[in-house]
Amino acid sequence: MQCYNNVVTWMGTIILISGFLTVLFRRFWNILACYRIQSLALAIATWTAGRMTGNGHLEMIAYATLLVKAILIPSWIRHVLKRISTRTEARLTVGVAFYLFSAAGLLLLSHVVASRALYGLRASPEALTEVLALVLIGLFQMMTRREAVTQMMGILFIENALTLAALQLAKGLPMVIELGIMLDVLIGILAMGILVYRIQEQFDTTDTARLSTLHG
């Protein structure tokens, strides 16, 4: 049980670190690589959780995570990126240093909230802090990066964070719900990819700030 907690927390930390890395990177490929690492870490955490607690369905979910989040979705995004291939760098609206320290500020904020929420309970606030921070960083990314593709990835990061939350705080969700969410995400990302492609065709850019000047 102790070992289970350790592995899951360790993977959670890796997910947090790669969350910070996404803030640092500008290139789509690097951000995509971060997503792959996150999904891999999530799959390992889920698998270990399944093994240690004897929950067979968690292991199944781990394999599904590996297939969908570490292979299918990244390949699809890669495909979309190759098709639109306008620019390889995501344009930022703020400087990277400011961006990084805002991320740290968000982490502090989530730490305050997490320790308040868990006050008096025996659970350590670390897990909740990590997860809240990851969600906030994902939202912040969607706000500050104007490319449609990075906004799509922001959703993926938030979804990963929420799955991690379920794993760390509630020891996983029921299998039906997990698989349903995964299918939703997959379909959503497929649709979004096609949409991004259409935006590119229509407006010659995926910069969402310019979409307000709609074609007649």
């Binding site: 360790w10 959670g12 890796i14 670190i17 910070f20 990084l100 320290f101 982490l107 990590e130």
Partner: protein, 310 residues
């Protein structure tokens, strides 16, 4: 007496291991990149060749140019003796964390002066860059180490090891601080995302630019200083964050195992450094701040986790 013998053993080992680590990194890098790469003992041959050569000193230089390599070497050697290798026994009561960080600042200062002293344009440029990078790397280095000093309630490097019950790298705070520390080590060593140690030709060089005017035995000393700094930082990283195979009592069998662990750790570090050098591209100078910012943010997060006592 015992302390003196230990000191002597440590110094000899240092002078032997430091060039070997450099050779290992270069060899591995070559293998990963699909070339043969120089042999592991190539640094020894380089030093031997340089020692046999004459010095050529620019007319523009002053006495600073002459003493800079010696002062840098002495400072780095002192710092390196503070880092525990296989034994966390506190025979070295002087190994203070703050002293260690600032001993590493002395060679930087001296080499920057020497770079300016030769009044070459490359030297001045590199000195200014070195100072810019170190201004960012120094607080990051301190902060990463302080993350471990807080639970250990001590600034002594020897006490940092085994300061907490768990192996630091397997705890969230330790992992965060470890990654932060690794980023700083790469910056301190001037390895690839920050500086390219293999090139002399580009306008981007930092470390190589400062030592451009040196030749012969002085250059050998500078190389040796760099290698010792490298092995010291690597050992500190490994021993503080993953303190496996350290001996707590004097015992021949345990000592041998510990030496084996030491070599394994060095090999692991060589693999990690060679891989980062191959996989990453050099960053623009103005993006350095972002990298150091990442290290700072990770350290702050780790401190937060440590400070709340979980």
């Amino acid at each position: 007496m015992n302390t003196l013998v230990l000191l002597f053993v440590k110094l000899t080992g240092l002078l032997l291991l430091a060039p070997i680590l450099q050779g290992m990194i270069k060899r591995l890098k070559g293998t990963i990149q699909g070339r043969q790469g120089p042999g592991v003992f190539q640094p020894f041959r380089d030093v031997k060749k340089l020692l046999a050569k004459r010095r050529v000193i620019s007319r523009e230089t002053s006495w600073v140019f002459g003493i800079a390599p010696i002062v840098a070497f002495a400072a780095v050697l002192t710092a390196s003796l503070m880092v525990p290798w296989i034994d966390p026994t506190p025979w070295n009561y002087m190994s203070d964390l703050l002293l260690f960080v600032y001993l590493l600042a002395i060679p930087r200062f001296m080499m920057a002066l020497a770079g300016l002293d030769a009044s070459g344009s490359f030297g001045g440029m590199s000195s200014s860059r070195e100072m810019a990078v170190s201004a960012l790397a120094e607080p990051a280095l301190l902060l990463a180490l302080l993350t471990l000093a807080l639970p250990a309630r001590s600034l002594n490097l020897q006490n940092l090891i085994g300061g907490s019950d768990a192996v630091p790298i397997f705890t969230p705070a330790g992992l965060l601080a470890g990654v932060a520390f690794f980023v700083v080590v790469v910056a301190e060593l001037g390895r690839i995302p920050v500086d390219n140690p293999d090139t002399h030709l580009e306008l981007t060089m930092i470390h190589e630019g400062m030592v451009l005017e040196y030749s012969g035995p002085q250059l050998a000393l500078i190389h040796l200083t760099y290698w010792i700094k490298q092995v010291t930082l690597v050992l500190l990283l490994m021993n503080v964050f993953a303190p496996f195979g350290l001996v707590f009592a004097i015992d021949a069998a345990a000592g041998l195992v510990a030496v084996g662990w030491l070599l394994a750790k060095l090999a692991m570090a060589a693999i990690a450094l060679a891989l980062t050098e191959t996989l990453l591209a050099k960053l623009r100078l103005f993006q350095m701040m972002d990298l150091m910012g990442l290290s700072l943010v990770l350290s702050i997060t780790a401190l937060l986790f440590v400070a709340t006592g979980s």
